[in-house]
Amino acid sequence: MNGLRGELNGILAIWYRELKVFQREKSRIVASIASPVLWLVIFGGGLGSSVSIEGMSYQTFIFPGILAQSVLFSSIFFGVYIVWDRKIDFLKEVLVAPITRSSMFMGKVVGGATDSMIQSCVLLAIGAGMEKAGMLPGLHIGIGGMAWMLLILLLTAISMVSIGLIIGSYMESPEGFQLISSFLLFPLFFLSGALFPIGRLPAWLAPLTIIDPLTYSVDGLRNVILGSSQFHLAHDIGIIGTVSVLLIFAGTAAFERMKL
């Protein structure tokens, strides 16, 4: 091993590869942008015709939730690439390289988070455009809150990519990955309050939303973008930050025991 420098080079190497792959998979980029826009326009528009929340249009209300959702889906789905790497035997090339498993994991996390962040930026631009066109009144996507938004999105991406990679490290087939990850995706998404306010939930449902880490991403984004939230911004960021650190440790451990 070449010490810290070698490990950093290893992380860079894996990042380089993930960026190249992302760049070449045009359909993946298009799908990852199109699906949240459809949610916003069709689901938001449809339900919005009869529902408004806290005095704002339903579409505006769910925009932060849809942003978090897109990060959730694309980040967790990123884990399938470790299954593919194993399947196409590329994993061997990385496993036999002189880098530690933690660097390998970190390289993947940085790669997956980059994909999700690029996608988020496109969605933020679309949101800002729609607001200008008068379609999402009350949306604030300005320079001011940008740093907070990006921080929340980044921590969310890191956490969710880690979850995806942990699942991926146990899975032998992409189909198995799909099955397990969808079991996790939908509860994480629906319980996060992405589609409804979590303030007045029935007593049996409220605790479930509290243990969903995505709740804090949605709440934080809503705080910055809409100016209304359940928790303090620092509270939200603190929780997502802690979760992402814990998941990085868990992911490193999962990669450590991963077999060829």
């Binding site: 070449n2 290893g10 792959v21 070449r24 196409i88 590329f90 994993l91 390289a97 002189p98 530690t100």
Partner: protein, 323 residues
């Protein structure tokens, strides 16, 4: 000082003993072949020496580093070309090599120079910017050979380097391996079940069967063990002691309907042999001893050539274009 030294290296998969207490020394500059049928323990040995698989017992030192205690240092000092393609087919040839250089912490200037050199060596310079998806099986293997060499490893491991390739690509690969062993001064370990391959490339050969080395010597010495030419006879009927009165017949064996005699100067002895066989002789063939005979001599089995599992060509077809 040996570059590889294994001591009691053992691997068990459950009850199955894949490799049984291997003790092997390899000196610098050798081209050592591990020859054996599928499941003999060749790939298991390779995976342990490259730290991808933990031994059940025993250990080994590779370039002076212990494979269990210093896996990172072992990995930095070796190169490996796997049996199955392990390049990323969505990247170009150049990108695969660049990625490799980064993984091995090569300084950028050296990395770029080496990429040029190794691409030149395997004659892929003009295809470096094509995606690997568009490479043929042979080209892909050449690329991976270039990649395995790129970071100046002191030992290069090749796992079935020509499995599943057409004869022409195989010739190419053999040429490159032959050249690099001299030019780059690397020690090469080749696993194979192609007799011709190890015969042409290897300076020393370990015959492995059922997890153990049954013979270890130069190909020439191993063939000398046979002690003569091989006469294969197809007989209508095989009578016991048919050739026992011929004192120049060193050994007579019957296998799969054929009778094999080991004879010194067989071509001169042929009339006498045929006389002994009499009317029962259907056909006769004389050849100098091959490694096939050597393998048969030590293991009592024939190696079935070309029956590798998951061949190179098939794999690349199955997975290309999907992801």
């Amino acid at each position: 000082m040996p570059v590889i030294e294994t001591s009691g290296l053992t691997k068990k998969y459950g009850e199955f003993l894949a490799l049984d207490r291997l003790n092997l020394k390899v000196d610098e500059g050798e081209v050592l072949g591990l020859l054996g049928p599928n499941g003999a323990g060749k790939t298991t040995t390779l995976l342990m020496l490259t730290t991808l698989l933990k031994p059940t017992a025993g250990t080994a030192r590779v370039n002076g580093f212990d494979i269990i205690k210093e896996p990172g240092k072992v990995r930095q000092s070796i190169g490996i070309v796997f049996q199955d393609p392990s390049s990323d087919d969505i990247l170009t040839g150049y990108e695969n090599l660049k990625l490799h250089g980064m993984l091995y912490s090569m300084p950028p200037a050296l990395r770029e120079r080496r990429i040029g050199e190794v691409l030149e060596l395997v004659e892929l310079s003009d295809r470096k910017d094509s995606r690997v998806r568009q490479y043929s099986g042979g080209m892909r293997r050449r690329l991976e050979l270039a990649r395995g060499l790129m970071h100046h490893p002191r030992i290069l491991f090749l796992d079935e380097p020509t499995l599943g390739l057409d004869p022409q690509s195989r010739e190419y690969i053999w040429g490159y391996i032959h050249n690099l062993a001299r030019q780059e001064k690397v020690t090469v370990i080749i696993t194979s079940h192609y007799m011709e391959e190890v015969d042409r490339l290897c300076t020393r050969l370990a015959i492995i069967d059922e997890g153990a080395v049954v013979a270890l010597d130069t190909p020439a010495n191993l063939k000398r063990v046979i002690g003569g030419d091989v006469v294969s006879l197809r007989l209508r009927r095989n009578r016991d002691g048919m050739f026992s009165h011929l004192d120049f017949v060193r050994k007579a064996e019957t296998k799969g309907g054929m009778t094999y005699l080991t004879v010194v100067n067989a071509s001169e002895r042929l009339p006498e042999i045929l006389r002994a066989a009499g009317m029962d002789a259907v056909s006769v063939e004389v050849h100098s001893p091959t490694l096939n005979d050597v393998f048969f001599h030590y293991t009592g089995k024939e190696i079935r050539e070309g029956s590798g599992e998951g061949s190179w060509g098939e794999r690349s077809i199955t997975y290309s274009g999907k992801r």
